[in-house]
Symmetry: C2
């Protein structure tokens, strides 16, 4: 393995599989990581927080470099089924160019802005985020060009202009993320991707469907519990 950098990296860890693998990849390159987790009034936030802490324990992230920030102001804005209880989470409809209801307008900008502010405080120069383009269901703020624009904005809008957002899984298909998790021995059982429920993954929301399909294509078994496991192949 190549030598790890002594430079601190901030990793955005939602508790989902994409962020888990992103953390595992950041861990390959950095000796020191700081984990940032954002609650925004999503239905599954307790479960995600539990995963966040298990993943942080796994990678020996000290308590002083774990930050949980409540950004539930996003739910005050509304317009999304992830944060607005009056809108149901829709079931998986297969490939679609349409932007789904679970879209929080401009959400990733809030999330990354938080990471940038915190990076300035803790002195990190790299921010890892598990954005995925392939299976992004059309979220505009998962596109590579969005992250290019974001890095340009950070150059213009920060004190030293030397913080960079890194998106190591952005071009990976879900099955590649599954395989990467296995090869890096990432603790998959400590990740959770369901949008709909916090007790046991539903197996049918967009996010469960993409995850299960990834495991099915990879020919592997997802170690977490599901209410149902439809065949998505």
């Amino acid at each position: 393995m190549s030598e790890k950098s002594n430079e601190l990296a901030v990793v955005l860890v939602s508790g989902g599989m994409d962020s888990l693998v992103t953390a595992a990849m950041a861990n390959e390159k950095h000796q020191r990581m700081a984990f940032l987790h954002l609650n925004y009034g999503q239905k599954t936030q307790d479960r995600e927080l539990k995963c966040f802490n298990e993943i942080a324990d796994h990678y020996n992230v000290p308590k002083s470099l774990r930050k949980i920030i409540d950004i539930s102001f996003l739910s005050q804005i509304g317009g999304s089924s992830l944060t607005d209880d009056s809108i149901d989470v829709k079931d998986y409809k297969g490939d679609s160019e349409e932007i789904p209801d679970s879209y929080v307008p401009f959400r990733n900008t809030h999330i990354v802005a938080m990471a940038v502010s915190w990076s300035e405080v803790v002195g990190a120069k790299k921010i890892y985020i598990g954005a995925v383009y392939e299976d992004s269901s059309g979220y505009p703020d998962c596109r590579p060009s969005y992250y290019q624009a974001l890095n340009n904005l950070i150059k213009e809008g920060t004190k030293d202009g030397d913080i960079e957002v890194v998106t190591p899984v952005i071009h990976m298909k879900k099955e590649e993320i599954v395989k990467k998790a296995i090869s890096l021995q990432a603790p998959l059982s400590s990740s959770y991707s369901c949008y709909a429920r916090g007790d046991k993954a539903c197996g049918i929301c967009d996010s469960c469907a993409l995850r299960l399909r990834g495991f099915q294509i990879a020919g592997l078994e997802d170690p977490i519990e599901y209410d149902q496991r439809p065949n998505y192949l």
Copy 2:
């Protein structure tokens, strides 16, 4: 006067003079405005909220189009005297290239991201913000190039990519802002700019000094109360 657009505009109204004049200029162009105000644990937030509502009343912004969002998570990140009580607000030191202590890392990105998310919900295509470059004391996120980068990011990161941030006072000197306020009959007595105190403006913090100096150069009297009014000419 040219005909006003029927398009809704979101205006970021902190309650300070720059945002007041920005609202007055938006009012010249738009029949309908929505006002957004962000509290972030700053020492002067009650006073600023009072100003926000007075300005909204003045411009007949309906209650349903006034939004106040608590973004006090910024104070959890620290690193700034605007939000951290353990750091004193420094007195005015005159022109300086240095970024002052009152800098919240990447603050305007949080603020504009909020406005973008809300604009998608209420259907606004223009966001007015009273950023000022001339007297910005070196804040990187007040530079015109920052707003260009931000508009590029919005194009990439939103559903339709057609929301634009407008900065009508960015190239104005403080004395020009004062004169503009007078010429548009903006309610100056309902604006408040002090960083240090919420009861009566201190007259000596950076923000008070810039405001008072603007009035002094313009040869006009600031209608708000100050604890002291040094001569800044």
